[in-house]
Structure formats: structure tokens, C-alpha cells
Symmetry: C2
Amino acid sequence: MRGIPESLNQLINEFSRLPGIGKKTAERLAIYILKTNQDKVLPFSDAIVNVKNQIKLHDLCHSFMEDSECVICNDLSRNNQILCILKDPTDIFIIEKTGYNGLYHILGGLISPMDGIGPDELNFKSLFKRVESFNEVIIALEPSSEGDATTSYIAEELKKIDIIVSRLARGVPVGASFDYVDEVTLTHSLNDRVKYK
Amino acid sequence: MRGIPESLNQLINEFSRLPGIGKKTAERLAIYILKTNQDKVLPFSDAIVNVKNQIKLHDLCHSFMEDSECVICNDLSRNNQILCILKDPTDIFIIEKTGYNGLYHILGGLISPMDGIGPDELNFKSLFKRVESFNEVIIALEPSSEGDATTSYIAEELKKIDIIVSRLARGVPVGASFDYVDEVTLTHSLNDRVKYK
């Protein structure tokens, strides 16, 4: 843009690369940075670098860890009898908000023959090695064809050992009106119906 | 938040400090950074630091400049007979979008006796020193009591010299329905009415 210093233009471009941030918002954010005191801006820049430098994946559960310590696996207050299987490490953050207090195992993807991703490409070896120490496994994968294929594969493999295997219920989202729920979801919610005691 | 590495938490906090970015969006952006390749993330972090380090204010027009050169004052393709007076250097970006091709003078604030800001606290000395070389001055300050006071002050001072002084028209925003325009704006738009030739 004319009349705009090059380094401001670059920051606008960087902001507009973020998901859901349009050109207008990127300009607003970049101008905010420009107007803000240096001592408030540098921690932001540092935080970006730190996230990339300090966060690694744990060998055992394949979730994020910092300072060579997995905050989840090493948390003794957690229930180490229940294991939740997820696709991505970032899925942990939303599951944590539900109050779930067990451990996790991250697959790193879903089985997708179309994309050449079979069980060998995912973190199954480490899963089957550790799974016997748990009482229950919750498979929490997205309801897509790849998610369903991966869920079936895990459930089939775990039949060989004595362990409770469950998956997330599918159904009507809280707050949703029936008018806006598709029939596939509604069918799932009928199939996953829960008995009143 | 539980189960979230500390450096990710810090980045979420930094993002949520930005204007218009809520907690949810901050989480989404921080997770995006975490998932993105290092070589795409480092330029973002650098761009933030660069904006703060490389952009200074020009002594003459008080707008942003980089590499000790003011991209506006030094642009020979601009009309150096017309001067637009603005409050903040960032106001330039929006005026530039209109296709305005003259020069600028940034006041650095508005006259506000309540806040102890008089003409001496603003960039008036340098304005009155350079203003005689222009044919026309456009005062483009916000339509507030401080903006109006500052506009009057400038107009009064410039009466002493032979120069055309104008201010921005006030009126109905393009696309706005009359139902949503307040009567003060509508009064201004009547007063600022433009004759058909």
C-alpha cells in the first residue's frame, strides 16, 4: 500500500495469513502493534518463538510437552486407568475443558487409504504397547469416513484384550433447534440414545 | 488452563490482548502458530519486532518513516501544493486509500484543555513554519469537541496568511439509510450541502 512503511506492510501481511483474519483486521492489529509500547510488544514476539522452540511431542503419548516433561502423563492427580485416543495434540485442549481427567494417546492423523495413510504411518505401535495398563479406552475421533474407519480399526484391534472400549456419543448439539440438525446426526442421536434409570 | 503447555498459554494471553480478539479466537490463533512450520512463523515474530524498531517519526511532517527516509515527503510524484492535517500518523493510511496525493502534517493529538493539552504540546510550530509553501490546507480531524476546537484554532491562525483552508465534509455515510443516521450528522450534511452545477 502507498504511504505505508514497508515493515508495517510486512506485519499486515503476516497477520492476514492467520486463519479468520482478513485484510482489514490485519491492518487494525498491525497498527495496534505499531502504537503499543515496545515493552508490551516484545513479549508477544517472544511468545511466538517460544511456542515453536519449547514445545515438543512426548514419545509416549505424542501430546505436547515442554521442558522435557509431559504435563499430562506426569500429573499424578489424573486417573491413569482411562485413556482417550485423539487425532491431534491440539484436540486435548477442548477435551480438557470438559473436565476429563484421564490420560491421552495422540494418533497424529487418521487412517486414509486415499492419502496413503495406513496404521503404520500413525502412532499405533506405541498405543498397543501401553494400552493394556488401562481399564477403559475412549476413542474420540471426528465423525468422518476416516474417523469412523480409524475408530473401527482400533475397536477391532482392542477386542483381543480385556478392556472397555467406548466412543463419543453423536447427537443433537446443546442449544441446537431440531430445525437446524441434519437427519444423519439425528439418526446417530437416536442410535446413541441413553436410558433413563 | 490445565493440560496446556505454559508457552502456549502465554501466546494465547498475548493474542487475547489484541483489540477485538477474544479468548476463543486467541486460542485458535495460538494453536495455528503451534501447528505451523517454524519457517513460516519466525517471519511473523520478526515483523512485530521490526515494526517497533524500524519505524520512526519524521521531524518535518511527523508521520512514520523507515530507513531515515520519509516515503511521503520524499515522493516527488506527490502534489506538494496541498497539505492534509491529521491527528495521528496512522490516520494517513485511511486517507491514502481515498487517492489523496498531497502531503501530510501530523499534529500528534488534539487541543484538549481538560487534559492539559494546549497548542504547545502539539506539532504546531513545525506546521506554521512549513505551511506558507502550500496553496491549500485540508484540516481532516475527527468531528468531536476536541477535533472542532483544534480545527477552529488552525483555521484562525491560518487566516493571517494567504492560503485556502478547508475541512472534511460531514454527512450521511455512503450506504447508510436515513433511519440510522443521527440528526446531528444530518444537520451537518444539510449545512455542507453541495450545489449541482
